[in-house]
Symmetry: C2
Subunit: 219 residues, 2 copies
Amino acid sequence: MHTSSIPNWNVPEPALRRLPWYLSYIKLLKKKGQTHVSSTQIAKKINVSSTQIAKDLSYVKISGKTRVGYEISLLIDVLETFLGFTSQHKAVILGVGSLGGALLGDSGLEQFGLKIFAGFDVSDGVIGCKINDIPVYHIDDFAKYNNKIDADIAILTVPPDNAQEVADFAIKNGVRAIWNFTPFRIRVPEHIVLQNTSLYAHLAVMFNRLSVNASNSKK
Amino acid sequence: MHTSSIPNWNVPEPALRRLPWYLSYIKLLKKKGQTHVSSTQIAKKINVSSTQIAKDLSYVKISGKTRVGYEISLLIDVLETFLGFTSQHKAVILGVGSLGGALLGDSGLEQFGLKIFAGFDVSDGVIGCKINDIPVYHIDDFAKYNNKIDADIAILTVPPDNAQEVADFAIKNGVRAIWNFTPFRIRVPEHIVLQNTSLYAHLAVMFNRLSVNASNSKK
């Protein structure tokens, strides 16, 4: 197995989304004491073809040896670095309501490279509080705050009515990526990264599929 | 505008994921006092073509009138019902660690039709506690509990090492859908609904795009 020092950054999104699956699985294999893995073994477990897996892994400039496969420890290191999980990415949460507060309380994100420095809101009920040791400030103080901290990522958990306005405000004050958890479809300039994670859209798909299954089973 | 009593359940997933965007936007328009909306107006805001929007809305058996467009109040009702946000879907959370605990604390999901009845874990630190007034039990009590409650949906927030095992266990005990928040790619029988929401995959995409933008701006 060999790695090159320059990874290919131009990775299609579906491949990027699959890489963490492989990482998760081979970490499990490592815990079990396994040292090498083939794309065929990953394929059997993950429900992705071994050709696809080999192609996805070639984006990170890593290739398996014939018959031996990939060296697990090295593959874990390379994947974690490539996926950005070993660097610290600075983030803030805009909107400390129910979901925003919940995300502030989730320490797990930090293990994947996301360090949340502060939350911002307009409600007296949360301003001045700390959640999971992270302070919550008034949104009016964001410009001054981000001038110092220089957070790259704004996690957007405001009510949908304010989603676009708050996203624009965050971008104006220096954030380079918006992680949008609101059900609102915000728009951002081309140089800004937008990642939508709509729990509600996922609920809609799940509810619909459950209904379909229920009506099929009645037939 | 007319509606038929039998909606088309066989909706492609991308359409299902877009419908909540339209809903969110027209709810905002309603708050502003607007009574009708055209697919062209939605298209301008949402960055989806008006043809696509009209097609997506036709799945819910609703069509706009020429020149007047869709009646907003009716469209909101029809969409909310169709998406399942107005019914109560019973759920449990398996794994009350950092993310599971955070989701228990998020009351917002209930407004979208997801009612979480209980959390389950193996750790003495959380068993017997209540989070957001929702009790946490030992996972060994799940079979007995779900016999009574009959939860449809298991929200999976266990460590990735146990994801498959706990999913199998939940399915064996009657759940019909798994909402998988772990980075592990679990497999389920064909009649079981699986929805993956990997925050870590979304992080990976966002980190990568940020790196690409940063290296482009240096050129």
